[in-house]
Symmetry: C2
Subunit: 497 residues, 2 copies
C-alpha cells in the first residue's frame, strides 16, 4: 500500500508501525519551553489551521499536525515534513506562512498519537460525515450519522493526553457533542488512567474556513464564536484564540454553552442551504412565467432586509451545506430526545440534492433529442467558484446523468487538476479543449474565468453551432445575445431569451 | 347605515347615491391645466400615496382619492375633505404633507367613479385578499384567491377612463395579473365604448409602504421596481414615478415585464415569510437544548452573508407576509397552468400561521395549570413594533386561545386605540392597567416602549408575583434576571433562564 501525493505525484509506502516517538521528540527538542499545539486532522481545515497556529500573532507555539497513516492521508504528513505544503490554493499567504514555518521549523506532522501526550492544546479538525445513500435522489430519512470514527479519534486523545490539556473542537458536530460525547469520553479515559479530571478543558469554536484566495484570512481575520464546557474551558479557549486570531478587528463572540456554538454553525449553514432550496421552486415558476429571475433577485437585493436572497444554480456542494442541516436534525432527535426532526432544514438538503437532476431534465426538455454519443464540454467541476474543491460538487450528479445517457464528456476547470471523487483528470487548457467541437457546452461552475470573458465568448462563437447551457447564470444578457446569433443558448431562470 | 371615524368618532350617514360629479368638477376647476391623478383605494397605501402625489417633487398634480361609500371606507372620504387625515401615524411628515395639500387644495376624495373619466393617471391601491378558512390552523390547500372584487374595481375604471390613460397597479397581485387580467379588461371595456386601445398604458410598480415613523419615506425615499405591459406603458410609468419619488437617491429598477415586477413583490415577501418559518423549528430545538437562540442568531448575523437571518417571535402578521406566498402559488397554477404549487412558500405561511398556537401551547406547558378566570395583560396587539396596525396580527390567535380557556384579558398598546378586527378598545395607559394585578403578563408586540424600559421593569417588579411571558424577546438578560427575582419569567428560545 502506498499513499500518492496528487501535487508531486510522489508515492509513499505506508509505514509499518504507528511509531514516530523519535521524530516527535526530536522536533520538540528544537522548541524547549514553547507550548505544544497538536492539530488533529490534516484536511482542508486542519492543515491550514496548523499553519496559522505556527504563525500565531502573539505566541510562539510548537505545532504538530497529526493524521492517520492511510493511503489518502499519509502523503500529507510526509509532504509537510518534506517542505511541500499539501494544499493547492490561490491564496499567496499560504506560501508565505508555510515558508515562515519551514524557516522556524515549528510545524511538524506525524501519525503517532504519542503526540497527544505532549500537547498543551489539541485542536480537533477531523471530519464528521453524514452518509447519504445516493448522490442525487434521496428521501428525507435516507441518511445516517455514524459517530464511531469521531469517537475513536477522541478516544485516541483520551488514551494519551495530559489531564490539564485544552481540547478545542473545531469540527462541525451535531449540537450537544462537546458536552455529551467529547467531554465524557475524555473524562472516562483519564479516570481509567488514574488521572484527575478537574483540570481538563474542553471547548468548541467552529471554523469558517473558505479554501480559495482568502484561505488564511478565513481563519485569522474572521469572526469567531466560542464556548467552553465550563468556565475554565471557556477562558482557556479564549486565551488561545486571542493568540492566533486578529481579535482586535474581528472580536470573538462568547456563547453560553457549547450546545449554542455547535448549533450556531449548523444553523448558519442550514439558513444558507434553505435559502438556496427556496429559490428552486421560484426559478421554475420564473421559467413558466417568462421572467428573468436574475433581474428580479437583483432588484429585491436592493433592500437591506433582503440582501441574502440567493440566485438559482446547478445545485449545492461542498462539505458543509450538504450535510450540516442533517447533523442538526439528527442531534435534535438522538442527543436531545426530541420526537421532531428539523423538517424544513432536512427538506432544504433534499431539494438541493435534486437540483443537478433537475438541471439535466431541463436540458432534456429543451434539447428534445438523444444524448447517445454526444460530445459534451463541462466548464467547471468545483462546487464553488474560483476554488478547487470538488467535495460533494453538484457537477457530479449532472455528470452522472450525461454519462448514463452515453455522452462523451470533457472537463475544464482552471482550479482542479484531478477530480478525486470521480478519479478523473481535468483539463486547464481551454484552447486545447476547443480544438474539438462539441454538441453541448455547459457552464457548471461560476468561475471568474467564465465571466465577462470576451475572449471566451469569441472563441465559442467561432465554433460550429452547438447547444450552450449556462446552469449558473455567468453570461450577461449581451453575451447571451452574441452567442445566440450562432448557437442555441439556454439559462435556467432567465425566461424567454 | 353610517360610517364612523375611529379617529374623531364622528358618524357619517352613507350617501344615498354614488353621484359626486359636482364635487369633482368644482375641485378640478381649482386646478386648470394640471394633470389629474386618481388614486383608487384609500387604505394604508392609497391614502398616503395620494398625499405623496399631492406633494410631488417636480410636478403639480390635482389628486383625487376614490374609495367605496361603505361603512368601513366612507368616513375616510369625508375625513380627507374635512381636513382630518384618515391615518394615525408616528411619522411627522404625514402632518406636514397633509397641511401642505390642504393649503394647495389639491387632494380631494370621492366615491364617484366619474373621477376616472377625468384621470390622466390612475394609481390602483385597492386590496386583493386571500381567504383563509381559519385564523391559526389550516391546511396547505385551505385558502382561496377570489379575483372578483379586484376585477370589478378594474372594470369600474374601464367604464369611464380616457383611452390614453396610464393605469399604474401598485396592489400586490398574483404574478400575471397586469398582463392577463388588467390590460384585457380595460381593452375590452374601451372597445365596448367604441374607443381605441392603442394609446392605453398599463404598468405595475409595487409599493413597499411601511406604516410607522417613516411612512412617507417608505414611498418617496425608497427603491422602486417597475414595468409596463408594453414599452409605451413602461415609459409612462417611469415618467410618473420620477415626479413623485426621489429617484436620484433611490434609482428606479426597470424589469423586463409586469410578470417580473409582480413576481418580485411576492417573492420578496415569501423570502421573509419563509425565513421566519425556518426559525420556528430551530427555536424549538434551542428550547430543547437549553440554548439561547437570540445569542446564537446575533453571532451568526455578524456574517454579511447571514445578516437576514430572523429571530423567533409570536408569529407573523400584517397584510403581506400572511398572504403573498399564497397569491404566488395560486398564480403559478391558475394563471400559468403549472401543475406544481410553490410548496415551500405555502408551507412557510402555514407554519407561521400556527406560531401563535405554539406560543400558547408553550405557555400551557410551562404553567401547568388551569387558565379559567385568570387575569391576563397583553402588551401589544399590533402585528409590528412601533406601528398601530392590527391587520392579521398574530396576537389575535393567541388572544383567542386565552379567551377560549376563560381568561379575563386586558390589552395595552401605545399605538392602537381600537382593535378593529376584534371590535375591542385598547388601553394606552400602562399605569392605569397596572393598578390591577394579573396572573399573566405577556409581551405580544416588540414595541420600543417595552424595550430597555427600566421604569416598566420596576413597575412590574413592584407587582405581586405573576407569570411573565415574553413571546418576542424584548427583555434583556439583565431585565429578565431582575424580574425573575420576583416572578416566573419565560421567553421562547432563550433556553434555561
Amino acid at each position: 500500500m502506498v499513499s500518492r501525493s496528487p501535487i508531486t505525484n510522489k508515492e509513499y509506502p505506508l509505514p509499518s508501525t504507528a511509531e514516530d516517538k523519535q521524530g516527535i521528540n526530536d522536533f520538540l527538542a528544537l522548541h524547549p519551553g514553547k507550548k505544544v499545539v497538536v492539530v488533529q486532522g490534516l484536511g482542508f481545515v486542519g492543515s491550514v489551521m496548523g499553519l496559522v497556529v505556527a504563525n500565531a500573532l502573539t505566541e510562539e507555539y510548537a505545532v504538530i499536525g497529526i493524521d492517520l497513516p492511510s493511503s489518502s492521508s499519509y502523503w500529507k504528513i510526509c509532504s509537510i515534513n518534506e517542505g511541500v505544503f499539501p494544499v493547492i490554493a490561490s491564496d499567496p499567504k499560504i506560501d508565505i506562512y508555510y515558508k515562515n514555518a519551514l524557516h522556524k521549523k515549528n510545524y511538524y506532522a506525524t501519525y503517532d498519537s504519542y503526540a497527544f501526550s505532549k500537547a498543551d492544546i489539541i485542536v480537533v479538525d477531523i471530519n464528521l460525515d453524514v452518509k447519504k445513500k445516493s448522490s442525487i435522489s434521496k428521501d428525507l430519512e435516507d441518511y445516517n450519522v455514524d459517530l464511531t470514527p469521531f469517537k475513536k479519534a477522541i478516544e485516541s486523545i483520551g488514551h494519551q493526553c495530559k489531564p490539564d490539556v485544552l481540547v478545542l473542537v473545531e469540527t462541525t458536530v451535531p449540537p450537544g457533542t462537546s458536552q455529551k460525547i467529547v467531554r465524557p469520553l475524555l473524562e472516562e479515559n483519564l479516570t481509567k488512567r488514574g488521572l484527575p479530571i478537574d483540570e481538563l478543558k474542553v471547548g468548541h469554536s467552529y471554523e469558517r474556513v473558505m479554501p480559495g484566495p482568502k484561505y488564511i484570512d478565513s481563519i485569522q481575520n474572521f469572526y469567531r464564536v466560542f464556548a467552553g464546557t465550563d468556565e475554565k474551558s471557556s477562558e482557556a479557549v479564549e486565551i488561545f484564540l486571542r493568540t492566533v486570531i486578529r481579535t482586535d478587528e474581528y472580536p470573538l463572540t462568547k456563547l453560553g454553552n457549547t450546545n449554542a456554538t455547535e448549533m450556531a454553525k449548523v444553523l448558519e449553514n442550514s439558513f444558507r442551504a434553505m435559502n438556496i432550496a427556496f429559490m428552486v421552486e421560484w426559478s421554475r415558476f420564473a421559467e413558466e412565467a417568462g421572467v428573468d429571475i436574475y433581474e428580479v433577485v437583483n432588484a429585491i437585493r436592493m433592500r437591506p432586509t433582503h440582501k441574502n436572497i440567493m440566485l438559482p444554480g446547478l445545485g449545492v456542494g461542498g462539505y458543509c451545506l450538504t450535510k450540516d442541516p442533517l447533523l442538526a436534525s439528527w442531534a435534535r432527535m438522538n442527543l436531545f430526545g426530541s420526537e421532531e426532526r428539523l423538517h424544513q432544514s432536512e427538506k432544504g438538503v433534499h431539494i438541493n440534492d435534486k437540483m443537478p437532476l433537475y438541471a439535466f431534465e431541463y436540458l432534456q426538455s429543451q434539447y428534445n433529442g438523444s444524448f447517445e454519443g454526444k460530445k459534451v464540454l463541462l466548464l467547471g467541476v468545483s462546487y464553488l467558484n474560483d476554488v478547487g474543491d470538488t467535495r460533494y460538487t453538484p457537477v457530479e450528479g449532472f455528470y452522472e446523468q450525461l454519462d448514463s445517457e452515453g455522452c462523451e464528456i470533457y472537463l475544464h476547470d482552471p482550479h482542479v487538476l484531478y477530480w478525486e471523487e470521480k478519479d478523473l483528470w481535468v483539463n486547464q487548457d481551454m484552447d486545447e479543449l476547443l480544438k474539438q467541437d462539441y454538441d453541448f457546452i455547459v457552464v457548471t461552475t461560476g468561475h471568474k474565468d467564465y465571466r465577462n470573458n470576451g475572449e471566451l465568448i469569441n472563441k465559442l462563437i467561432a465554433k460550429p453551432r452547438s447547444f450552450i447551457y449556462d446552469t449558473i447564470g455567468v453570461f450577461s444578457n449581451d453575451e447571451i445575445k452574441s452567442l445566440a446569433a450562432k448557437h442555441v443558448v439556454k439559462v435556467i431562470g432567465r425566461g424567454d431569451l
